[in-house]
């Protein structure tokens, strides 16, 4: 609403400080003002008021922008139902946000697309929360690509497909990492080629970070690039490359690891039975160790022998099936061989990491059944998400059914916290039974660990999970148990209820 400059200048200065000379008003207004008596201030205000109203009433359309944007490609998937969309909006706003991954998975499982108006928020999420990308990328459809392309070089550029090279060269580092993840999901070779195109000009930190994105869509065709990265000056880059090469079955890296381990370890069949022994005389790390990202110096705090320590470094990279073939033993026999060694803990965990890297579900499940208490938490956190859910439950259930006091030290406790796959009814019921068994007058409040377990259960158990724990609490009818436990159990119920309603909304 532009008022005449002279009027604004006059009003800014104030009539007390300037000779009040009004600008000549437009003819019709002048006539009107002529009828108004009053001091110059009043005239200024009346003129400003009238002119601004005139301006508002006479407002002309602004000129549009040419050309209109190209239209988005169609998305054949049906839109998620409105009721389900409301839950997504709620969670994006921060309510029950821990259930958000399940919404994304549920929509994808049903072949539905997210409501368009929420795409901006989902695109934000894809940049900020890397762990959600495997769920988000398949869900975001052509409309999200189109929207990202409209937004240019901003934070959604990672989802553009129209000018990938420019985005890769110009965008901020987090956007580039997300772009690499996106391309690796869509077309792994293209992603690798893009990374290779600027590899030499990236800083060491960047090289290491970008390399980690290649875990998505990893395959044998990535081996030459990764093998070359083992010659990198930065140890972090070599480690990252080695970690990926270890995941490629039959890679030269894996063969080298197997050779090293074979030299260190041998099977002795003697009159006292068959046992493993370490070959201390060959225990010498050479330059190839450093290239493969392995430590060369014996660490100070280890109680292991040199050979034992070296084996600890390489064993996690040798697929268990290698030993089975080499020594012609069965899986349970291999475990039995690992058991009596003084380095039992390292041995079992090494085999655990090896089965994780080789994707050997059978051996991993055997380990869970036979040696769960020995396995480290970080191994469990990596291993459990990739095992088939039903068989995983089968491996964990027997541990819960043992008559053992259920505390955070219970062998299954850490595994349950690491199990972020959908739980079966049986597993959920067994956990509830185990938790309920700890209810007694001396245990008035749930420990923080127990609360975490209940929260974890609330997110992964079937949403219609029994009301067992609350029922037990009620049956106990002990006022001293009511407060802390009831609160924790009530919160669990709230989350389970929310999930049940959220999933129900998809099928309405």
């Amino acid at each position: 609403m532009p008022l005449p400059d002279v009027l604004i200048a006059l009003a800014t200065l104030g009539t007390a400080h300037s000779p009040a000379e009004l600008p000549p008003p437009p003819a019709a207004l002048g006539e009107l003002l002529g009828q108004v008596e009053g001091p110059p201030e009043a005239q200024i205000l009346l003129l400003a008021g009238a002119l601004s109203l005139q301006e508002m009433a006479g407002r002309q359309p602004a000129k549009g922008v040419e050309p209109l944007p190209a239209t988005s490609a169609p998305d054949d998937r049906p839109r998620a139902p409105e009721a389900a969309a409301r839950y997504l909006l709620q969670m994006l706003g921060g309510e029950h946000k821990e259930v958000l991954p399940e919404w994304l998975a549920a929509a994808h499982a049903r072949g539905q697309r997210p409501p368009e108006e929420l795409l901006p928020y989902l695109l934000d999420l894809g940049l900020k929360r890397a762990e959600l990308r495997p769920l988000l990328f398949p869900l975001l459809g052509p409309r999200a690509i189109w929207l990202a392309e409209q937004a240019g070089m901003g934070s959604w550029a990672y989802f553009r497909l129209d000018d990938v090279e420019s985005v890769w060269q110009q965008a901020e580092s987090p956007v580039r990492a997300a772009l690499l993840a996106h391309l690796r999901w869509r077309d792994p070779a293209r992603g690798r080629e893009l990374l290779a195109s600027t590899w030499r000009s990236e800083g060491a930190r960047q090289r290491e970070k970008f390399l980690q994105e290649l875990a998505q869509g990893l395959g044998p065709e990535d081996e030459p690039f990764l093998e070359a990265a083992l010659d990198d000056r930065a140890r972090g880059v070599r480690l990252a490359a080695g970690e990926l090469l270890a995941l490629i079955p039959g890679s030269a890296f894996n063969r080298r690891m197997a050779e090293r381990a074979t030299a260190l370890l041998s099977l002795r069949r003697g009159w006292r039975g068959t046992r493993l022994s370490l070959n201390d005389e060959v225990a010498r790390a050479d330059a190839t160790w450093d290239r493969d990202g392995l430590p060369v110096e014996l660490s100070q705090d280890t109680t292991l022998t040199k050979a034992g320590w070296m084996l600890q470094q390489v064993l996690p990279y040798v697929p268990p099936v290698y030993w089975l073939r080499l020594w012609q033993v069965k899986p349970d026999e291999l475990l039995a061989l690992a058991r009596p060694a003084p380095d039992e803990h390292h041995f079992l965990n090494g085999l655990g990491w090896a089965s994780y890297r080789a994707g050997d579900d059978d051996f991993a499940l055997l380990l869970l059944c036979e040696a769960l208490p020995e396995l480290d938490d970080d191994l469990l956190r990596r291993l459990l998400p990739q095992l088939p859910a039903a068989r995983l439950d089968g491996a964990l259930l027997p541990w819960l059914q043992r008559r053992e006091v259920f505390t955070p030290k219970h062998p299954a406790f850490a595994a349950l916290l690491a199990d972020s796959q959908p739980w079966s009814h049986e597993l959920a019921a067994a956990v509830i039974a185990a938790v309920s068994s700890t209810l007694h007058p001396a245990n008035i409040n749930p420990s923080p660990e127990m609360k975490s377990l209940l929260q974890h259960l609330a997110l992964h158990a079937p949403p219609e999970t029994s009301r067992g724990l609350l029922a037990r609490l009620q049956a106990q009818n002990r006022p001293e148990l009511q407060k802390g436990w009831k609160k924790a159990a009530g919160e669990m119920r709230l989350a389970l209820d929310y999930r049940r309603r959220m999933l129900g909304a998809f099928d309405r």
Binding site: G14, A16, L45, G49, L68, L119
Partner: protein, 464 residues
């Protein structure tokens, strides 16, 4: 979903609650095992709940009234919030887990007694409402006129002083300089002017660009002064304009004064809603409607204190059969519903208009601006008017957004409320859409988009 309460789901129960906190509290209680007893005889539902009191609370619902205007329920708890969390929790249980209510042939004794009492009350003669006599009314009108005249008598020299000392000086004034004056206007029973004062560009964050600021300030002060001026001639104004002036002063015609006024009956389409802080702690909801037969726009205003929830039963795209009485105005918009209440037509299988529906009233940018000019000419104190535009495309220009029509003519979208038009662009996908919003004379605040046959309430996205 429950067969006890067909059509009732969580969101409908939530909209029935007095506020969000009550819903949250109820959700915690909506666990059957927390209740001492739960039961239903299909027409009523009841439960007993051990709260903090000595005796368990008795909670009861009359399910026969659940879809009527006067849903009857009772809880023996001392809560002042109505419905209380116990009633809401029982509603949630009845809707979501009806199987947990034990089915009885007869209601339990406390429910039976309650029903009995209700029948008695209903058969009693309603008490005659006391209506103030015409004489009393005239007296109070004259008193308020006097008070307002006194308030404006103080405001005028104050306004003139601001211009005498200059806007350069006023720009440096602390916020209380303006709000204290606004408070005086509230005391003088002219809250409409107080709001105008409070929404002036005051405070440091407005000071970046002096020329733009001075322009806006001077225009607003000028318009305020026009109201002062108009009030002097109140008696000589035509009646509709008098009503508009009273509305501008914050003294609108009361609903009771319009009893018996002719209603406009139509099938009203809900175009959009907007919630806003009207005064300190007082929130306002504007519900915009379009008569599908008459083509008239209507505005229903609701007010709520504190965190109390508004009735959000009606969603954009839904229709409601109702008679609306328009408040007197030279450009009538505000209305209230008469008769059987303002509930969506639940008998229709699909309450929303069909997927392919596009309101015929959706218009071009030029036509909308012309309609606005006509309305403003009739009522110069209009704050905002409804714009239903289509087909239009959202477009980004620099950091701002606009919507443009087929003729390539455009309107800017309001900043900062809608500084990000991304959800709107995402909805369009490059295709034209129908957009409903409020035009304030300078920019458009989008409220609802109709895209791909879907009505999307854009105000719900604001919080993110």
């Amino acid at each position: 979903m429950s067969d006890l309460m067909p059509g009732w789901d969580t969101s409908r129960i939530a909209s029935f609650a007095p506020d969000g906190a009550a819903v949250k509290a109820a959700r915690r209680l909506a666990l059957p095992e927390k209740w001492a007893s739960l039961g239903s005889d299909r027409t009523t539902a009841w439960g007993t709940f051990q709260g903090s009191g000595r005796k368990p609370y008795q909670v009861m619902l009359d399910l026969r009234t659940v879809d009527a205007d006067r849903f009857t329920y009772r809880c023996t708890c001392p809560s002042r919030k109505q419905p209380c969390k116990h009633v809401l929790a029982l509603l949630l249980i009845a809707a979501e887990q009806p199987e947990t209510l034990s089915v009885k042939e007869e209601p339990v004794s406390f429910v039976a007694a309650w029903l009995e009492k209700q029948v008695q009350t209903a058969t009693q003669e309603p008490k005659a409402k006391r209506t103030p006599s015409t004489k009393q009314q005239e007296k109070s009108v004259a008193a308020r006129m006097e008070k307002i005249a006194a308030g404006l008598g103080e405001l005028e020299p104050w306004l003139l002083d601001v211009v005498r000392h200059g806007l350069g000086d006023a720009r440096l004034k602390a916020i209380p300089f303006w709000t204290a004056r606004a408070a005086r206007l509230v005391d003088a029973q002219a809250p409409g002017l107080a709001t105008r004062l409070r929404t002036l560009p005051i405070g440091a964050h407005h000071r970046a660009n002096h020329h733009a600021w001075a322009n806006r300030m001077l225009a607003s002060l000028g318009q305020l002064y026009l109201i002062v001026h108009a009030f002097r001639q109140y008696d000589s104004l035509p009646a509709p304009l008098q009503a508009d002036l009273r509305t501008a002063l914050g003294w609108p015609t009361r609903q009771e004064e319009l009893a018996g006024a002719p209603a406009v009956t139509d099938r009203w389409l809900v175009l959009g809603r907007r919630e806003e802080l009207a005064e300190e702690r007082l929130r306002q909801q504007r519900l915009w409607l379009l008569g599908l037969e008459t083509g008239r726009f209507a505005l229903i205003l609701e007010f709520a204190f504190g965190n109390a929830a508004f009735d959000t039963t009606l969603q954009p795209g839904e229709t409601v059969e109702a008679g609306l009485v328009f408040y007197p105005s030279s450009a009538p918009l505000r209305a209230f519903a008469v008769g059987a209440g303002f509930k969506p037509a639940r008998t229709e299988p699909n309450r929303t208009v069909g997927a392919g529906f596009k309101p015929a009233q959706a218009t071009s940018v030029r036509n909308a601006l012309q309609a606005y000019a006509r309305a403003l000419a009739a009522n110069p104190w209009l704050i905002q008017v409804p714009f239903l535009l289509g087909p239009v495309w959202p477009q980004r220009v620099g950091d701002g957004w606009l919507v443009q029509d087929e003729a390539g003519e455009a309107l800017p979208l309001l900043a900062p409320y809608y500084y990000q038009g991304w959800p709107l662009l995402a909805l369009s996908g490059g295709q034209p859409l129908t957009l409903f919003g409020e035009w304030n004379g300078a920019a458009l605040l989008p409220l609802t988009a109709l895209a791909d046959g879907r009505w999307v309430d854009l105000t719900k996205l604001e919080a993110h």
